[in-house]
Amino acid sequence: MSTLQLEIVTPDKTVVSTETDMVVCPGVMGEFGVLPHHVSLLSALKIGLLRYSDNGKDQYIFISGGFADVNENVLTVLAESAERAEDIDVARAEAAKRRAEERLSQRAEDLDVKRAEAALQRAVTRLQLARR
């Protein structure tokens, strides 16, 4: 069976480097799947979960947005942070969620709504993965 190479890199380390037969990415225009020998593609990713199959078993990775680059059967995901379910700090994510919710509900004048919403989204997605 043909496979493709999946690389998930963050500024701090390479999180995943593996052979797989399918990857589903959270693209900004909706989820999209990448199979082996996909055409060259560059897509922006939103905050969400990336899924790939590891010997028939689905693996999920949290992605804080970024980019996916497909070229010559290699899918490279560039993300500022990427975490496996077991690496997620649940307490921290919960604290971040509360903080973001508080900020959004208080609506202070200098509130950067976009940033707060992104923070909330990140926290919620992290928790969703951790509790899966």
């Binding site: 890199v9 500024p11 060259s40 593609l41 560059l42 897509s43 922006a44 560039l78 500022e80």
Partner: protein
């Protein structure tokens, strides 16, 4: 001539200094290994980023994005100065600060106002005592450089550039070339110059195949460019951190050698002094005996 006891104490003192410099050298070498490992881990990300951006930059026209476009009027310039938090690393920080001040003078001669954003305590202190304007400063953070810090510095600069509060942004940092060489380096952050395509072979290869872009080239560029500034700032920080430790290792190595030299000279002096005192005591005794005999 100093007394025997003075020389002895001096030798002990220098010996203790030597222990400290030696220990600092070893600590610096351990930290350097950590810093180098971080650079290594960052390399795949930075490399891929360059490649993707170079590929994309070929497809769009110059000035397609505000961060790529030069401002018509150049009035205000910001310099991001990345130095270490601690001293005792030879001329490392001084070199970076001098390079930054030179750049500032150059920009002023072009008729621009210059302001500084300092990462690292040493640079901040030096700039402050030079009486320059500091708009942003992050001290005591170099020990744990992380992407979040680089990101907030970069966003601040991008915000300034986009609101036309800044017309040029430069970064001065210590480039890590090798263990023995960490020259200060100035890099223009904004307006961004897109990475040159064809510099690495991968990018040149990519030229043959058609890429699909999602959502489209312009929007992707708008997402990628700010992050590219972050990548460059982070790079500067990682390089400075590694350079600092390398410079400290060299400085401490030198200091340890100097201590050895001093101990040698002092020991010589000690022996001479001891010999002199023995000789003078002997003269006394012999003189006394002579007097009794006489």
């Amino acid at each position: 001539m100093p007394s025997l006891k003075d020389v002895k104490m001096k030798i002990v003192g220098v010996g203790k200094t030597k222990q400290i410099t030696k220990a600092m050298n070893m600590v610096a070498s351990a930290k350097l290994r950590g810093a180098q490992a971080r650079i290594e881990r960052f390399r795949p990300y930075a490399g891929k980023y360059r490649q993707v951006l170079a590929e994309l930059a070929r497809k769009v026209e110059d000035g397609a994005h505000p961060l790529l476009a030069e401002h018509q009027e150049k009035k205000r310039c910001a310099i991001v100065l990345v130095t270490s938090d601690r001293g005792l690393c030879g001329g490392f920080n001084a070199n970076i600060v001098n390079a930054a001040l030179k750049l500032a003078a150059e920009k002023r001669s072009e008729g621009m106002d210059v302001q500084f954003a300092c990462v690292g305590r040493k640079g901040r202190d030096a700039i402050r005592s030079a009486g320059q304007e500091i708009t942003l400063s992050y001290g005591d953070r170099m020990g744990s450089v992380d992407f979040a810090l680089a990101s907030s510095v970069a966003l601040e600069m991008i915000h300034g550039y986009e609101t036309l509060a800044l017309d040029e942004v430069w970064m001065v940092y210590g480039e890590f070339v090798s263990m023995g060489h960490q020259p200060p380096r100035s890099l223009r952050l904004l307006p961004l110059s897109a990475p040159e395509a064809g510099q690495d072979e991968d990018a040149a290869q990519g030229a043959h195949c058609e890429y699909l872009y999602e959502p489209n080239e312009e929007q992707l560029l708008a997402e990628l460019l700010p992050s590219y500034v972050k990548v460059q700032v982070y790079r500067g920080m990682l390089d400075t951190a590694a350079s600092e430790h390398a410079a400290r290792m060299a400085a401490m190595d030198n200091a340890t050698r100097n201590c050895n030299e001093m101990i040698n000279t002092l020991t010589l002096l000690y022996n001479k002094t001891r010999q002199a005192s023995i000789t003078s005591e002997l003269i006394d005794i012999v003189g006394g005996a002579e007097a009794l005999n006489g």
